[in-house]
């Protein structure tokens, strides 16, 4: 029997029991659609996180105090116990004029409450220098950014993220307005552009003040030697070449080791790529986990196929007997039933891929808890789902098909 004949026979048999076939196909459709929709959403989340990180500048190095876990992926920030990065370090890096470095931006973070009128907002306050806007590609949407003059005067000025601005000054223009921070009056000089969700916290929830103002007026923090402590130093590079990154990393490391008088690094230099990879691992695991959960429904679909094929073999015992009596070999019967199983699972797979793709596309516009999900329909999960559904048809179809093929013709013919 040729394959075309086999497919024709199988379609006839499946069409003879339309309701049963549709229900079995439905089991596969749900499984495959769930796998594709969930994996697409996972991939979408990954892509949007990556895009956000890249959006903050793709040729950046981040120097932070403390040593990061060597296992990679996890950022164990030990800066609280050994604050080893200072403003003087930042100035030294700038003054060293290391080739490949375009600009640097030291920052220090603290948490505080902002109060304006009857509204309050607890958030992260970042002390920055004027270079921050360029280095981190985060520009004011309205107003002006922090200037060298602000820095020198330790001015009580503040630039607000979009979310804070609308929370504190609903329906008003915040530029020029004042707010209270640690019982001091600050003047709003800028509302920053919308940045969307960055990695773990949105920059729209952050407020920026001059670094010197943070150090002296909000949260002074000095080393024993009297140097101002910074949380992080961002470094912009001239380009994204591996060679540039490595050269700058080496030079900066040597300089900082010398300044700190240590042989082992007491700081960590990460590239943008390091962060993307580390987060990629997290979201990749998440995607896989979602896929595995959806995979369970695929498995259930497969069991449904096996179940219905077993019923079908029993029902068609006499047909099998007739076919064998007139000359069907074991393989002919095996192939006939296997094709039926694979057609059901593949049919479910194709329909499921279409529905899953639509789900992924439309769920992209839906937002959950203020975060919009982004679906990224890539060919991989579709190909995977189709291949898996064929495999499921084969795996779950082989047992019933083999049972049919092994039936003895005399007994099968006698079956009522």
């Amino acid at each position: 029997m040729s394959l075309a004949d086999g497919v024709r026979l199988a379609l006839r048999a499946l069409a003879a029991n339309k309701l049963r076939t549709s229900l079995t196909v439905l089991g596969m459709v749900i499984g495959v659609a769930a796998v594709i929709a969930l994996m697409s959403l996972g991939a979408g989340a990954q892509a949007s996180i990556e895009a956000n990180i890249r959006g903050t500048g793709s040729n950046l190095l981040f120097i932070s105090p403390g040593v990061q876990s060597a296992t990679g992926g996890r950022f164990v920030d030990v800066s609280a116990t050994s604050p080893t990065l200072t403003l003087a370090d930042a100035e030294a890096i700038r003054d060293a004029a290391i080739p490949g470095i375009v600009d640097i931006a030291p920052t220090r973070n603290t948490n505080a409450s902002l109060v304006a009128g009857g509204n309050a907002f607890s958030t992260q306050i970042i002390g920055v220098t004027p270079s921050y806007a360029e280095v981190r590609t985060f520009q004011p949407q309205a107003g002006r950014f922090i200037t060298d003059d602000d820095l020198r005067r330790r001015a009580r000025v503040i630039a607000l993220g979009q979310t804070i601005a609308t929370e504190l000054f609903p329906g008003q223009n915040p530029i020029g307005a004042t707010l209270r921070l640690n019982n001091q009056t600050f003047t709003v000089i800028a509302v920053m552009e919308e940045s969307g969700q960055a990695t773990f916290q949105s920059r729209d929830n952050q407020a920026l003040v001059p670094l010197t103002t943070l150090q002296t007026r909000i949260s002074p923090s000095r080393t024993l030697a009297g140097d101002d402590i910074v949380s992080e130093i961002s470094v912009t590079l001239a380009d994204e070449d591996e060679a540039t990154i490595e050269a700058v990393t080496n030079e900066v490391s040597a300089l900082l080791r010398l300044r700190h008088d240590v042989t082992e690094d007491d700081f960590t230099i990460r590239t943008q790529q390091d962060i993307i990879e580390a987060l990629g691992e997290v979201t990749g695991t998440l995607t896989l986990f979602l896929g595995a959960i959806a995979g369970i429904s695929l498995l259930v679909g497969g069991i449904g196929i096996m179940n219905i094929m077993l019923v079908s073999v029993t029902e068609r015992t006499r047909e099998i007997g007739i076919r064998k009596a007139i000359g069907a070999r074991r393989r002919d019967i095996l192939v006939q039933f296997l094709i039926e199983a694979v057609l059901v699972s593949l049919g479910g797979g194709i329909a499921g891929a279409v529905i899953g793709g639509l789900l992924a596309t439309y769920m992209g516009g839906v937002s959950f808890g203020g975060r919009s999900l982004e679906g990224a329909l890539t060919p991989e999960p579709v190909i995977l789902a189709l291949a898996v559904s064929v495999a499921i048809g084969l795996v779950f179809g082989i047992y019933p098909a083999n049972r049919a093929a092994r039936l003895r013709p005399i007994e099968a013919l006698r079956y009522e």
């Binding site: 004949d5 006839r12 064998k324 000359g327």
Partner: protein
Amino acid sequence: MESGSQENGNATPVVRVQDLVKTYHMGLIDVHALRGVSFDIGKGEIVAIMGHSGSGKSTLLNLLGCLDAPTAGSYFLDGELVGDLSDDALAAIRNRKIGFVFQSFNLLARMSALEQVEMPLLYARDRQRRQRAEEALAVVGLEDRMHHKPSELSGGQQQRVAIARALVGNPSMVLADEPTGNLDTATANEIMELLVLLNEERRITTLIVTHEADVAARTQRVIRMVDGAVAADDLTARAESGV
């Protein structure tokens, strides 16, 4: 003496069974369905196998139809020993050499008459199966019912489809198991006439298992089975009168 007749090509019997024994093991009891059966059936013969239920005629039919293997003894079909063959080898023999006609027709409900008749050729991978199936249906007089399903055909027509299906692969013999058992007398007569006609005009070797004397009377030879052995093997009056 048997080897003598085999050397002569023309006289090679279609069926030669020698001391055929079939024993079923039912738990602790052995049931001796066949206790040593021997006979030859020559090309173009039409033979009835008669016997009461339990006489072993169904067992004999299963063995002759290559649906089952004997416990002992040998079976030559077209001069070839059908021995300890695999399931698939037996399937191939059934496909090429044997055409079955059953009491209950054994047609597939979903298929048209044409498709039923094409089926043996499907397993033989015959490319001209449509044309050959149409010819076979014409032989049994159903050329205008080719696209009807079994539910749209009368009992006699269904059995004609089954006969066409048995003939289409040009088998060495047709094995008919109570072919008229489910039919009324008039239709049964028609079917017997068709089988006899096919035997006379096309020299199709035909074995009919039956317990009806008037069916047996229309053949040339009757093998009577009693308790798993051949009790009598005689030419019928029809054969002796040369009709």
